[in-house]
Amino acid sequence: MVIKKAVVLLFLLCVQVVASAQNNCAIKFSGTVVTEKGEALAGASLGIGKTERGEVSDRNGKFLFSDLCPGEYEVSVQYLGYKTKRFRFTATKDTYEEFRLEPEITELNEVVIQDAVMNTEQAQNFTVLQEKQLAESAGKTLGESLKEITGVNSIQAGPGIFKPVIHGVHSQRVLILNYGIRQEGQQWGAEHAPEIDPFVASNIVVIKDASAIKYGTDALGGVIVVNPAPLPESAGLGGSINTIAQSNGRSGTISGLLEGGIKNQEGWGWRLQGTAKRAGDFSSPDYMLTNTGIKELNFSASTGYHKENAGVEVFFSHFQTELGILKGTAIGNLDDLVNAMEREPPQYTSGFSYGISEPRQEVSHNLLKLNGHIDTHTGDWRVQYGFQNNNRREYDIRMAGLSSIPAIDLVLNTHTLETEWESNNSEKHISGFGITGMLQENNNIPGTQRIPFIPDFNNLSAGLFGVSKLIFKKVVADFGARYDYRYYNVAGYDYKNTLYKSSLQFNNVSATAGATFSLRKQQSLSVNLSTSWRPPHVAELYSLGTHQSAAAIEYGLLLNDSTNEVMEIEDVPFQIEQALKWVSTYQRSGAKFDFEASAYVNYIFNYTYLRPTGITQNIRGTYPYFRYTQTDALFVGADLSATWRVSPMWRITPKATLLRASDVRHDDYLVNIPSNKFEVGLRYEDPTLFSLRNFYVESKVKWVAQQHRAPRTITPREFNDAILEDTDPLLGSSSNFDFMDAPDAYWLINVAMGVSADMGKARYDFRLAAENLLNTEYREYTNRFRYYADDLGTNFIFSIKCTF
C-alpha cells in the first residue's frame, strides 16, 4: 500500500517536472580553470547546482555548460590537490567566468591528498565518491556505500557486515587508508567489516590499480582512501547534523559535526564529529531476519595548526559497534547445515526486536594520529605516527553456560611511523622517497574457554620506497619501487592444546610504472602495470577451528595434512603471494556524453585461499574441512560507466561491472567471486523548482547476473548420502565446491528524490528513497548468509541534513 502511494507520488512528480521543463533553456555558462599562477588546469571537474550535471575542463582549462535554463545556480570546481571553489550566479544571459584554484597545501589530510595527486591524478585508475554521493548513501556502512562504484562489490555477512571487494579481491588484498593511516584490524575474516565510520569522510577514493605502493604491501586489488575534509583555518563556526530513518530494521542514525577556527589565531582549526546508530532486526520480503540488529557509536576529534609551508595535526577517533548475526546461522555439523538450508524461514525466526543476542560481535577501534609537514627549499618533508587499538569479541551460542563469554577475544595494537620527502623545485619532474615502520601485537585475551582460532603474534615491518613522476605536455608518467620486510613472532596452541612457537620472516619488492596520455577532443588514455606482494597473514598460516555460521573447519597452511601438527614454514611448499596487475582506462568527456572504460588483468601468483579438502568426523558429527592452499589465480574484467545528458534536466547513467576469475593451476573456478552487474540510472533535476533548490528525482534499475562461473555444488545432503554409503565425495577430485548453487539473477529497483531549502543561514537537504521498491525476493551470491535466508525487502529511507 505504502509502496503504491510512493510510486504514484513519484509518478505525479515526474509529470509535473516534465511540464515545468518546457522553458527557454539555451543559456551558456563557460570559462576557464587556472592555477594561482594562471596556468590552465586540465581535467578539473565542475558541477552545477548540487546536481550531478558535470563538466571537465579541457587541456586549456576551458569548460562549457550549454542549454542552461534561467535561474539561480551554484557551481563547484574541484581538482585533486586544490581547494574546491564554489560560485553562485543567476543565469539570465550567457556568462563567462575564470576560476583560480588555490593549492590545498594546508590540507589536514594532505598526505593522502598529495598521495592522491601522486597516485591517482597521474597513475590513472581511480574513482572518487564525492560528498554528494556519500550523502546519498548516508546511514550505510563503508562497504555498502562503496558498492556504488563500478568495479567494487562486497562480501557480505547479513545486513550489517560488508567487506569491500575491488576487482574480485578483498580482505588482505585490499588496503584501506583511514585518514592516511593503514587500517589494521582483524581483516582476515570474511565476516569482519572495516571499522570505519563513513561519516568521517568528505570523499572516498578507490584506487583500482596497484600503483599506490607508498602505502605498503597488500594493495593487490587496490586501495580505499577515506579522506576527511580539511580543517578550518580561520575563525568561525560551522557544522552539520544528519538524521536518517530507515524502515527496514527500523533504524535511526544521527551524525553531527562541529568545526571552527580560533579567533585571532589564524591557522588553527578544530573539528568534533560523532555518529550514533541503532537498528533492530532487518526483514526479508517474507520474514524477519531475527537477531540482525546493530548498535554503533563513533566519535572523532581533531585539531591542527597550519602555516604556508608547515603544519601539525592531532586526530583521534573511536569506533564501536555491536552486531547481531542472524540466529538461524548458528549451526554445528553437516546435518545441521542440511536442515538450515532446507528450512525457510530460518530457525529462531520471531517478531521484530531491537535485542541483540548470540551469535554476535562486539568490535571497537581507536585511532590516534599525529602528523606534521614542513616545506623547505630542498623539498617537502612529512612525518606521521599512528596508533591503532582494535578489539574484537565474537560470541556464539555455546553449551556449559559459555554463551556469555566470547569465543574469540582479540586485541590488536598497531604502531606505524612513516616519513617521506618529496622534491618541490621542478614542475616537470617530481620525485620522492620514504621510510615506513610498523610494530604490531596481537593477543588473545584469556578466558574464552576455547583453543584460540588464531595464535598470538608480534609483527615488525619496515619498508622503503622511491617514486618519480615526469610531466610532459601530453603525457604524465609515473614510476615507483618499494622494498618491504616483515617479521612475525608467533605463539599459540595446537589441536591438542599444547603450546607452539615460531618466528617467520618475509621480504620482497613491489614496483609500478604507468602513464596517462591526453588525446584530442577531451579524451585520455591511461595505462598502468604494477606488481605488488603481501606477506601471509598469521590466520592463513595457523587457523584452527570452526567459524561463526560456516559449518566447516578451517586449517592454516602450516598445519600438517595428516597429523595436524604445526610445521615450520621451511617444511611446507609455501611461496609468497604476488600480483601482476595491468589496468588501462579510457575516458572521454563531452557536452552531452561522458564515457569511461577500464579494463584490467590481475594475475596473482600463489594466491592463498581456503580450499575444500575433505570431511572429518568428530564427536559432534561430520564436518567438511577447508585448508589454506596456494594456486595461481587470474582476474580479468572491465568497469564501464557513462553519462548521457539527454536534455539539461534529464540524465541517463548506465554502468556495468564485469569480471571473470579462474583458478589457473587447477583449471577451476573460485568461490564467492562477484557476478556481473548492470545498472541504469534515470535522473531528472531542476535546480530552481518552486523556489526550492536542487530538486531531483531518480530511479535506478539494477540487474545482477547469476554467477555461472561458480565451482561445482555438493550439497550437504549429498555429503550425508555419500557418508552413509561409506564414500567421500571429495575423493578423486579436489576441485573447489560450494554447498549451494549460485542464486538466480535478480532485478532491483531503487528510487529517490531530494530537495534543498535555505532557512536563514542554515541549509536543509531532504531526501526520500526506497530501495528494493518491488519487495523482490532474492539472494546475493556474495552474501555468506544466502544459504540461510533471503536478502532484504523494501526499505524506505528518509533523511534530513542541516548544514550551518
Partner: protein
C-alpha cells in the same frame, strides 16, 4: 615570526618522534616472551562412553567413541560392537568427557554440564533392524513422537536422555545404534525434533543381540 614558528614546529616534530619511539619501546616491552595463557576447552567432547547395565545385575556392556584430535582431521575411533543378550532389559547411561582437561578440572566432566543445562539439551536415539522390543520401532531421530524410555527429565518436565531403558528382542539380530545430543537453547519443547538446534554429539555404533 617565521623562524619562531619553525622553532615551534621543529620542537613539535621532536616531541612527536620522541612519543613514537616511546610508544614503540613500550610496545616492544610488552611483547615480552610470556607464553599465551592456556585455555580450558569445556565444550570439546573427546570421549563418549555408553554403559548398558543389565537389570538385576550382571556385567555391564561398555562402548566408547573417542576423538583423538578434536577439530583435527583424524576421524573418531568407535569401538564396540554393543553386544547385548536376548530378551533382557538394560539401563543405558551416557558419560561425556573432555580428555584435554585434567580430571580435576571443572571442564573435564561434560555430562555434568549437560545435566546443569538440561532445559537446553536433549538426546535422540536411532537404531536399525528393530533390535529392541521396548522401545519398539526405529527411534526418535526421524520422528520425535516415536517411543523411547527416558529415565530423566529437566525442570520443565521434558525428557533429557542421560539415562534410558532398553529391552532387547528375543531373537539374534544385528544393526546400528546412533546417539545424537542436540543443544536447543530457547528451542527445546515437547515437539522439538532432532532437526532443531545445534549438534553437540552424533555417534553411531554397531549393535548385536545374541
Amino acid at each position: 615570526m617565521k623562524n619562531n614558528f619553525m622553532n615551534i614546529y621543529q620542537s613539535v616534530i621532536r616531541v612527536l618522534f620522541a612519543l613514537s619511539i616511546l610508544a614503540a619501546t613500550l610496545s616492544l616491552g610488552s611483547c615480552d616472551n610470556d607464553d599465551p595463557t592456556k585455555e580450558d576447552a569445556p565444550e570439546l567432547i573427546t570421549t563418549a562412553t555408553l554403559t548398558f547395565m543389565p537389570s538385576g545385575g550382571g556385567t555391564a556392556v561398555v562402548v566408547t567413541a573417542t576423538d583423538p584430535d578434536g577439530d583435527g582431521v583424524k576421524d573418531i575411533e568407535v569401538d564396540g560392537p554393543i553386544n547385548l543378550m536376548k530378551n533382557k532389559t538394560y539401563t543405558l547411561s551416557l558419560s561425556l568427557i573432555n580428555g584435554l582437561a585434567s580430571p580435576t578440572d571443572e571442564g573435564y566432566d561434560i555430562t555434568a554440564e549437560v545435566e546443569e543445562e538440561s532445559d537446553e539439551h536433549l538426546f535422540f536415539f536411532a537404531w536399525t533392524n528393530e533390535v529392541f522390543a521396548d522401545p519398539a520401532g526405529n527411534g526418535n531421530v526421524d520422528n520425535r513422537e516415536d517411543p523411547l524410555n527416558y529415565n530423566d527429565e529437566d525442570l520443565g518436565g521434558l525428557p533429557l536422555g542421560l539415562s534410558t531403558d532398553w529391552t532387547s528382542i528375543a531373537t539374534s539380530r544385528s544393526g546400528t545404534f546412533r546417539v545424537i545430543l542436540k543443544h536447543q537453547p530457547d528451542l527445546k519443547s515437547a515437539t522439538s525434533s532432532s532437526d532443531t538446534g545445534e549438534t553437540d554429539l552424533d555417534i553411531t555404533f554397531n549393535i548385536n543381540i545374541e
